[in-house]
């Protein structure tokens, strides 16, 4: 790549031709990202390969632990022929709908309550004890109550997802409001902002990064809520797929459902990240992690 030495690179300082040192830095940077990607692929191949190999040689029993080719075959079968409960897409749609609904309701409620309590010291002092108590209960247990009271349909799963999401988002929104800079609030007040304007134009924007951070985690929680809800009792959904596979001692089926859930979670993560990037464009670049 000696051609690069002569190449003119445009930077903030204007054009210059690459010297030896810059050329070396550039090459080192390119090489590094190449190595990182190669290692990532290598680790994937090694783990899957070891698993497949161990299953093929009988070192582990594929009946209990599944095998990658079996998992892939299972997914293909579900895609091509559908599951015992109907087409795979329908199951994914059901779980996704429960998750998204639970996520939206839980996070909106969490944000609203967190901001309201964060802005009102008195309410915060009164309610803080109950929030601590509610937060310490393993909320998955509530799933049983929801199945009893709301039935086997979608409502009980959405309710569980809401409960899973609410407290995480609430705690973060509350903390974000509390961390809002005193001087910045005083500045807005003196510039002429009403209490409502202070909330909307200072407190909420400064809590945004806290809230967004919690949304990353809480989509996963919503998914857990929906799947556990389906697990406990449902007519459709990925969670039911898992419990059916479990009942049939189909280890590959459990892993296949896991893969599908992971794909769904990653897709949601990608969407949330791109929304976040739009919302916090004002932030210094150093604080925004470069996309890995």
């Amino acid at each position: 790549m000696t051609a690069q030495a002569a190449a003119a690179i445009t930077t903030g300082d204007g054009e210059f031709s690459l010297g030896k040192l810059e050329e070396r830095d550039l090459r080192a940077q390119q090489r590094r990202s190449g190595i990182v990607n190669a290692l990532r692929i290598a680790i994937f191949v090694a783990v899957i390969g070891t698993w497949e190999g161990a299953a093929a040689t009988g070192w582990i029993d594929p009946f209990f632990f599944g095998r990658p080719s079996g998992v892939a075959h299972q997914i293909w079968e579900w895609v091509a022929e559908g599951t015992a409960q109907g087409s795979l897409w329908a199951q994914m749609a059901v779980t996704l709908e429960e998750t998204v609904l639970g996520f939206l309701i839980g996070s909106v409620a969490g944000v609203v309550c967190g901001i309201a309590l964060g802005r009102n010291r008195f309410l915060a002092d009164v309610f803080s004890i109950y929030i601590k108590v509610a937060n310490s209960i393993p909320r998955v247990v509530l799933g049983s109550i929801f199945i009893i009271s709301l039935g086997l349909g979608m409502a009980s799963k959405v309710a569980l997802a809401v409960v899973m999401v609410f407290f995480v988002v609430f705690a973060n929104a509350f903390q974000g409001v509390r961390e809002a800079d005193r001087a910045m609030i005083a500045n807005a007040q003196i510039l002429g902002a009403s209490p409502w304007q202070v909330t909307t134009s200072v407190v909420i924007p400064s809590a945004t990064s806290w809230i967004l951070a919690s949304l990353h985690v809480s989509f996963g929680f919503a998914l857990v809520g929906a799947v556990v809800g389906e697990f406990l009792g449902a007519k459709r959904g990925i969670g039911l797929l898992i419990s059916t596979a479990q009942g049939a001692f189909n280890a590959n089926g459990v892993f296949a459902a896991m893969v599908i859930l992971a794909v769904m979670a990653l897709g949601a993560e990608f969407i949330i990240t791109s929304i976040e990037d739009r919302l916090v464009r004002w932030k210094p670049a150093a604080l925004n992690e470069p996309g890995a």
């Binding site: 001087a183 910045m184 500045n187 304007q197 945004t208 210094p284």
Partner: protein, 281 residues
Amino acid sequence: MNAAPAPAGAAAPAIEIIGVTRRFLTPEGTFNTAMRDFSMTVKRGEFVCVVGPTGCGKSTTLNLVTGLVTPSAGQVRVMGEPVTGIDRRVGFVFQSDALFPWRNVLDNVAAGPIYRGVAATHAEAKARAWLARVGLSDYETLYPHQLSGGMRKRVALAQTFINEPEILLLDEPFSALDVQTRTVMQDELLWLWSGTQASVVFVTHDLEEAVALADRVVVLTASPATVKTVHAIDLPRPRVMSEIRYEARFVEIARRIWDDLRAEVAIGQRHAIAVPSGAAP
């Protein structure tokens, strides 16, 4: 010192702080006296600097005028009227960076008029005019983190001046800047101020800054704060910050005030060592 309040109306001084005592309730449930029997008057159009040792309650002086802090005893009057809340005629420049990091430069400057109900297009036009005045016209779409410390201070000044305050309060606004930028910003402030009739209270711990800027310098005692002495600064205006420090008259005044301040600084330092957390003694 406990003069009777002047009558309200055109003749009233811009700011009167009359015999104010302020105690703060600490989280431990005890009371901390920040200022005791504090009296000070700022005439209309006057530039007053308040100097005092670290942690003596200089900022409390300003917060009394904004209405963010109410006195435990005594009275605070702005333009002859008692302070009851945040006064619209007051502008405040903070020590820390109080710009809104999620708004670009233009929106930061336009914030005041928009909060006060001015239409967005009108507020933006006004903000552009102020940005031109502080020399930041080319930076209106940038965010605060993309600016240097001096540029951020210019935005903060424009953000405050756009509301055309009759009373301008500054709380150690340039203390975080390097010495050269600080000198430039001091000139900038005096220039912006000269275009207004605003009365100014400028709090600083930097005695030279106080002497260079002010018509009068008020020296505070160590905590609890009260006025120790008041010095008139008879240096002619307009003043050039980079030159004024070397004038004989400046050095003479600064030395005289330092003689007053030195003892208080020593007491303040002892306090700071004895009570490291800043709690009540």
